[in-house]
């Protein structure tokens, strides 16, 4: 019995293989479309699935991920949620002492270092943390243990840093003394551990770790108002919860932030939902990579959904294709099915046989799809920030998901057509007037779905492309094409470097002017745009402003016009305590005439407003321009970090070389990191540009597959109407009249799809655009043009068939057997 069963199966399999092969050879075009579109969809699906699962895998290597949280302050500003992750220095330790809910806490500060041994000197980024860091997070030690930062003068290196600096990662490195330059000061430190490089799917990345006590930007270690670093905590409870933390931290917040809360109240800001004006809250670390609070340079939480959604849509389109074509093939095989039925085959037996054939086609597509994905991944990686590899697919979880999706697809794609044909009665099959031929509802619905999806994707990708281009080409309010920005690096003193650069550039024919700033225009300060917020009181009311340290000639170098007053001048020593503010700042303080030449209490000093500059975008263009104060006082603790050089128009490449040449005489280990400002501003929109690429490629592929589907559907309809075409020709119809007759049905379907799809597309693009402050002029002409393009493509696709069918000799169609 058992053996017979096995034998049966193997015979069925063999039959299926043979008949699949024969069918492929008989219907080359159809099989090509079926396998081709499924292959394409599998490949795209695999790549998008891997991307999404990479996004979702972030930070999950930490054992206590459910207990970790990243702190932030929540308040309401202009009726908008305002989240700021920067914390004052005493907070972490105080919180740990006073709040039993928090078991461990570490601060996390950004900075740069120069490391030096006898042989080599390297320039790297570093993070300043507390000893708790290692017991909160699980970064793998190569050598060393959790006590690596117990000593103040210890330094932890990553594997790549150690290899770069010392050349090996032996045990002998431990205890080795190296010289470390923090903010211009050399000191001796001891290497205490080597960590493996943080994995790619880690939100926290670093090249070396130092004790937070070494953090340079701390001008008052006990101040609760100077906020300049992030804090991560580990809860006592098995899983951390933002709500219960906010409740637990409420008295803590009111105790230490009474001043801030009073200010917020006085300024009439609305309270948070729980009634507090300032709440200390946290993001569970498992959501850290994909939060929508703009904390920690996250990706949008929509991204993985978007990737998976796109993959699903493309799969739906191509499975529809498959079913559609399978149904046509079934019609021409009705004779075969009828014979099998008269020979006693049950519906199930015949269905299984037909389904097996589909399974073979699907397997073939999956194999080819894997191959295609494998060959596309290097190209995909180079165009996005992903570092995917096809082997990522071969983990248990991924294999199971892939197998499950594959079986679902093959059952839907093959099972439905098989059941449809086998359930027809023998007589109708033999006569060839089975219901499939007449009742082709499903063959109308599938293209309808396909084209609805396709038009939505097309419109969305067009909108994304237009919006990103709009932003890239918006005037930012300052000159960006002919200005070179040079990062000074941690080794040199900014003010001195700027001074020397200015001296060296005097009289150079390529250089018009030189100035400096503490932020690089185009990128926020270390990717975090909230750090430069400063609150102050003026005439009994609280205000907040962004601030920027600049130097002489700043406004002329960047071509930012002044609306009122004057710029900083070298001839007036009092200008060192002077301010230039932007129009937004002047407006919030009651207008230009109210503040010009008046003192403002910033940084516990009275600083006189000497000028008002025209607004310019110092942040990215998703946001409106905010109030900004610019000063050049070098004694406030904010050093020049970038030198900005305005070149004379003309040869940009040669000018860059000239400027680099001069800079090399000042900074001897310069690393070719000077760039024109417009490159910097472009870099700001990398995430959007990636999304743009993925969506627009997805859109194009969706349209291609949908057209393949339409091509197949036209084939179905026309094969069912061969006789009618013949009769009409014999009766004297011209070819064009036939083409119109045959195309009409399909164009109606496409039109209906446009009718359904366009409002959806319109709604989705409006939703996405609303996250931008500066939007391109969304014109309904765009919808119209997209619709027209899709319609034209569909018409061409159908036309290829109908023209051919209409031109064939009617004699063949009308032969009386």
């Amino acid at each position: 019995m058992y053996i017979k069963f096995i034998l049966n199966i193997s015979v069925t399999m063999k039959n299926a293989l043979f008949s699949t092969w024969r069918n492929i050879r008989k219907r080359k075009l159809q099989t090509f479309i079926q396998i081709g579109s499924l292959t394409l969809a599998f490949a795209i699906g695999i790549i998008l699935f891997l991307s999404a699962s990479f996004e979702l895998s972030f930070d999950h290597f930490h054992n206590h991920i459910d207990r970790i949280g990243a702190l932030y302050f929540q308040s309401q500003e202009d009726h908008k949620n305002n989240a700021a992750s920067t914390m004052p220095i005493p907070l972490a330790s105080t919180l740990k002492e006073e709040l039993p809910y928090i078991e461990k806490a570490t601060r996390w500060g950004n900075g740069g270092l120069v490391l030096k041994t006898d042989q080599k000197e390297i320039n790297i980024g570093t993070r300043y943390v507390d000893p708790d860091f290692f017991s909160i997070f699980n970064f793998e030690f190569q050598i060393g243990n959790n006590h690596a930062l117990d000593d103040l003068d210890n330094i932890v290196l990553t594997q790549s840093t150690a290899e770069n600096l010392i050349g090996n990662t032996d045990k002998s490195i431990i205890g080795r003394q190296i010289e470390v330059n923090i903010n211009g000061q050399w000191q001796n430190m001891q290497v205490s551990a080597i960590l493996k490089d943080p994995p790619r799917n880690s939100s926290l990345s670093f090249k070396s770790l130092l004790r937070f006590e070494k953090f340079p930007n701390t001008f008052d270690k006990n101040s609760w108002s100077n906020k300049n670093h992030d804090v991560f905590v580990l809860s006592q409870t098995p899983s951390i919860d933002a709500q219960s933390f906010v409740v637990a931290a409420k008295s803590f917040t009111t105790k230490y932030f009474a001043d801030d809360i009073a200010k917020l109240k006085r300024d009439g800001t609305s309270p948070n939902k729980d009634g507090s004006y300032l709440a200390l809250s946290l993001i569970p670390f498992k959501n850290y990579h994909l939060n929508d609070l703009q904390i920690g340079n996250p990706n949008s939480p929509l991204l993985p959904k978007l990737l998976l959604g796109l993959a699903l849509l493309i799969l739906i389109i191509s499975v529809s294709n498959f079913i559609n074509i399978q149904l046509v093939s079934s019609i021409s095989r009705s004779q075969e099915v009828a014979i099998r039925k008269t020979l006693g085959g049950s519906i199930l037996q015949i269905s299984v046989q037909l389904w097996l054939e589909t399974l073979i086609c699907c397997l073939l597509s999956l194999g080819l799809g894997l191959l295609l994905a494998w060959s596309l991944i290097p190209f995909y990686n180079s165009n996005t920030h992903y570092q995917l590899a096809i082997v990522d697919l071969f983990t248990w979880k991924h294999v199971l998901i892939t197998l499950f999706s594959f079986l679902t697809i093959s059952i839907v794609a093959g099972g439905y057509p098989a059941l449809r044909i086998t359930r027809e009665s023998i007589l109708s099959l033999v006569k060839g007037n089975s219901g499939i031929r007449n009742r082709w509802n499903i063959q109308r619905i599938l293209p309808l779905i396909q084209f609805t999806i396709a038009i939505v994707l097309v419109v969305c990708s067009v909108v994304v492309v237009l919006q990103i281009n709009h932003i890239k080409h918006l005037p930012l309010g300052f000159e960006k094409q002919e200005v070179i920005s040079i990062p000074i690096g941690p080794k040199l003193d900014g003010n001195q470097a700027l001074h020397r650069m200015r001296q060296a550039s005097l009289g150079n024919p390529f250089i018009m002017s030189v100035t400096g700033s503490d932020i690089n225009l185009g990128l926020g300060r270390d990717g975090n745009q909230s750090t430069s917020q400063l609150g102050f009181d003026y005439q009994g009311k609280g205000y907040s402003t962004n601030w920027q340290r600049v130097d002489l000639d700043y406004f002329s170098t960047l071509e930012i016009p002044l609306v009122a007053g004057r710029s900083f001048s070298a001839d007036r020593p009092t200008d060192s305590t002077a301010l230039v503010i932007n129009e937004q700042m002047a407006t919030q303080l009651g207008g230009i005439e109210h503040v010009l030449n008046k003192p403002l209490p910033l940084f516990d000093k009275q600083m006189t407003v000497i000028g008002v500059a025209k607004d310019y975008n110092f942040k990215d263009l998703k946001q409106r321009i905010e109030p900004l104060s610019l000063f050049m006082d070098p004694d406030l603790g904010f050093n020049i970090k970038y030198i900005l050089v305005r070149i004379k128009s003309g040869n940009l490449v040669q000018s860059l070389q000239e400027v680099e040449g001069i800079w090399k005489t000042i900074d001897t280990d310069y690393k070719n990191n000077a760039s024109y400002l417009d490159e910097n501003t472009d870099r700001m929109y990398e995430q959007e540009q990636q999304m743009m690429k993925i969506i627009s490629v997805g859109g194009v592929i969706a349209v291609i597959i949908a057209c393949m589907g339409l091509f197949a559907a036209a084939l179905v309809a026309i094969s069912a109407r061969v006789k009618e075409i013949g009769i009409r020709k014999v009766l004297g119809s011209s070819i064009w009249k036939l083409v119109i007759l045959l195309s009409k049905d399909f164009l109606q379907i496409v039109l209906l799809a446009l009718l359904i799809g366009l409002p959806i597309a319109w709604y989705l693009s409006q939703e996405w655009l609303s996250s931008f402050s500066y939007r391109f002029n969304f014109h309904f002409g765009i919808l119209f043009l997209c619709a027209l393009t899709v319609l034209a493509l569909a018409a061409i696709t159908i036309g290829m068939h109908t023209i051919k069918a209409a031109s064939t000799n009617p004699v063949n169609a009308l032969k009386d057997e």
Binding site: E724, I727, R728, V730, L731, G732, N809, V811, D816
Partner: protein, 221 residues
């Protein structure tokens, strides 16, 4: 009216020519009623298709109303066909999705007649063939004989000079067949030239002349 000279038609079968029509010479005058007879595979239908411009010979000359048809351009040939010929099939070939009325109307639409003219002609046809009561029915609701009557009505709607019929009674019972043949006879008396392909001696007798075909060649009796 029709003059065929040395018509050859063949298929290339593994290098050798397999002849379907071999040196056919045939004259048919206006008002004639010709029956083409012969066993299966003798080339009857192919000959009819050549005459009806649905198929082209490999060699030979074909004059239709003194015009060298094979030298004409496709467009002109189609126009010639449209204005002068009507075709009746063994299996009727009505369009299943259209009613009797619409089936008869279809060729008139292709001739770009106005709807008024079409209405008049279709009404005339329905009346003439006694199928007024069936005008709103679909082909599947009719018997074979009735369907063939509709097929003939459709073929005649364009008032052709030549009616070509490929086994018009092949799918019908004898009573229906007789009805169709008497219709043909009546049409011929009204001046329509008819060429029919048939198996049945009895039906062939309705014509004035019988052309016998064997293995693609004409055989005079």
């Amino acid at each position: 009216m029709i003059k065929l000279e040395n018509i050859f038609k063949w298929y290339q079968v593994s290098g050798a020519r397999s002849f379907v029509l071999k040196d056919i010479n045939l004259h048919i005058e206006q008002g004639d009623f010709v029956s083409i007879m012969g066993p299966s595979g003798s080339g009857k239908s192919t000959l009819l298709n050549v005459i009806g411009l649905l198929d082209e010979p490999n060699e030979g000359k074909y004059y239709f109303m003194d015009e060298d048809v094979l030298a004409l351009k496709a467009k002109k040939r189609a126009a010639l066909f449209q204005s002068h010929m009507g075709y009746v099939f063994q299996s009727y070939h009505l369009i299943d999705e259209l009613t009797v009325y619409e089936n008869i109307e279809t060729p008139l639409i292709y001739k770009n007649l106005s709807s008024k003219e079409r209405k008049a002609i279709v009404a005339d046809m329905l009346d003439r063939f006694g199928i007024v009561g069936k005008k709103d029915l679909f082909p599947s609701q009719l018997s074979g004989g009735q369907q063939q009557v509709v097929g003939i009505a459709r073929a005649l709607a364009g008032s052709p000079k030549l009616l070509l019929a490929d086994e018009p009674t092949g799918n019908l019972n004898s009573k229906q067949g007789e009805h169709i043949m008497s219709l043909f006879k009546q049409l011929n008396e009204e001046g329509v030239t008819i060429i029919q392909v048939t198996h049945s001696e009895k039906n062939a007798e309705y014509g004035h002349r019988i052309v016998n075909l064997l293995d693609g060649q004409l055989k005079d009796i």
